[in-house]
Symmetry: C2
């Protein structure tokens, strides 16, 4: 096994977030399940945009947020995802490259527009997402450069990739290439509704060791094993995957290793503004810890630190320097 | 004079802000004068975007920000400005309409792209702006609907309109129509460099009573009269225009009426994040006070309140409800 030239390669839906503050009534009136991610078509996108308030556009995408966070910590990163050569696609490409991420997936010259996600942030800081997948659904196995996967210590994938059919194949190709090169593969379960759509396949990915590390929040864990018994679900997860982290919002997280559960508290915040990206940035910090060969508790602290930064402002990409924040806390960078 | 169906009509450059945090070094390396607004061409825009960090896109434009702020307070507002029918133009139109502003200027089907402003925010919260005027420079007298001007109690214009030649004519047409209908005309001097470009014309606009109310910050006032003598400049301003407000950042403002100078303190803030829109939102609050027939000191308090809101987050449009903030302070809404 040659030494990795990248720390983490992310593969995910390349999405620009179109974010607006809203009242709970708006979600009810539009039949949206608060806190969830729903897929919408072009017509649905048009309707939501026409109805929603003044918006802010910020690059997003779950795995892309994680990779941007890792780059901000100082990791060597790359991203694979599909945009169209349109305004949003150019914005996405600019932003991820400006963060220091290698991003070489060729944009589509025609076909559907770059993916966008209408993110509605309620006064409690919770976000409800409506995603138009657009060009992102044309991510295909051909977009996965084996050399790039082989060169990365971790390949990080999002559960949302299970939505576009070709992307699922790209996911499996990347995992096979990574393992063939002795690398590790991480997966975020993305969203409890996403887990509900692909429960058996996600469990299969873990049990077949197609993925080595899983990130899940409490709702995703409960959905995965269809149980309200948290401890029972944790034990099941412990059996099913080599390493996992279950995030629990303000209750912190639990690192789930084969012989050990390590609870780590959340990092303190001044004000909760917008939870968008909390899980993505937790994963960034945790992976950064692994990359720096930190122990699990320290890696989880880095995750908690990054999550705390991103929920104190609008948008899912860090605004402060995560590296500087970690240094200030005496954490490894 | 019939009763006004709108409180304030704004006319300005329709611009989307493309905002990124940056270090002071970046400004120095690119020869930018910190805190100023510079005009750039398409090539300059491309270069700055390529060099700047990950960005956030938020509708902006000086007068448009003011009008959005007024709408947020609960005023009846309209805006005139030129966009192209492209992504940024649709975003601008969506956002201003979603705020409750009547915006009917037809977008250009071809020609230059919608205007954008690359806003670079340094760690001290100061913003440095580079504007590509694009479609905005095609705002022409034909875009000024006399009925709309006649229907508004105030017509609010930005000094930046002096940059595109046709927009200047649109400005003068609007002023003539407004005064013909017994309405009032307000002007913001926009930027000290803008004042430097058009000093004599701006003074002429005041002395000929083409404008009735002027907003200026300290730097603009000093530039206007080419003096470092603040009190002397204030006295000159008092002679030259019926009513003015000079804003002084954390030192508050001074309302300049013919026989009276009224100093009003700034509103307290927790954290300065981004000064973009501070002057625009001050003008929104002050005009809202006039619309509600408040006295000058109260109007200035409303201005200070709106400015304080906008400098505590990224972007020049209010994120919290200005109406609710004013109510909480016992100010008239």
């Amino acid at each position: 096994m040659t030494s990795a030239t990248h720390d983490v390669l992310g593969i995910g839906n390349a999405i620009v977030d179109i974010m607006a503050r809203t009242e709970d009534d708006f979600l009810v009136a539009h039949g949206m399940a608060k806190g969830s991610m729903s897929l919408i078509d072009e017509d649905g996108a048009r309707k939501i945009y026409a109805a929603m308030g003044a918006a802010v556009e910020i690059s997003g995408g779950s795995a892309a947020n994680t990779i941007a966070g890792l780059a901000d910590f100082g990791a060597r990163t790359a991203f694979i995802g599909k945009v169209k050569d349109d305004h949003l696609g150019r914005a996405f490409s600019h932003d991820i490259r400006a963060t220091g991420v290698a991003f070489d997936t060729p944009p589509a010259a025609d076909g559907p527009a770059t993916a966008c996600c209408y993110v509605l942030v309620t006064p409690d800081g919770e976000r409800t997402m409506n995603t138009y997948l657009g060009a992102a659904q044309n991510l295909a196995p051909v977009d996965i450069d084996p050399a790039q996967v082989e060169a990365a210590r971790f390949t990080y994938l999002e559960g949302y990739l299970w939505d576009p059919p070709q992307a699922k194949e790209a996911f499996l190709k990347a995992s096979a290439v990574a393992h063939g090169a002795g690398r590790e593969v991480a997966l975020t379960l993305s969203d409890s509704f996403c887990v509900d759509r692909y429960r058996d396949e996600f469990i299969d990915l873990m049990r077949t060791a197609t993925v080595d590390l899983v990130f899940a929040n409490e709702a995703e864990l409960h959905s995965l094993y269809q149980t309200s018994d948290f401890d029972g679900a944790l034990q099941q997860l412990q059996k099913d995957v080599k390493l996992a982290v279950v995030t629990r919002s303000e209750k912190g997280c639990i690192v789930v290793a084969p012989n050990k559960l390590t609870p780590v508290p959340a990092a303190p915040i001044k004000e909760l503004v917008d939870t968008t990206g909390a899980g993505d940035l937790f994963a960034a910090g945790f992976l950064f810890g692994l990359v720096r060969n930190a122990d699990h508790a320290t890696a989880a602290q880095l995750g908690a630190l990054a999550a705390a930064e991103v929920i104190q402002h609008l948008g899912a990409r860090p605004q402060a320097s995560l590296k500087a924040l970690a240094q200030a806390e005496g954490l490894p960078v």
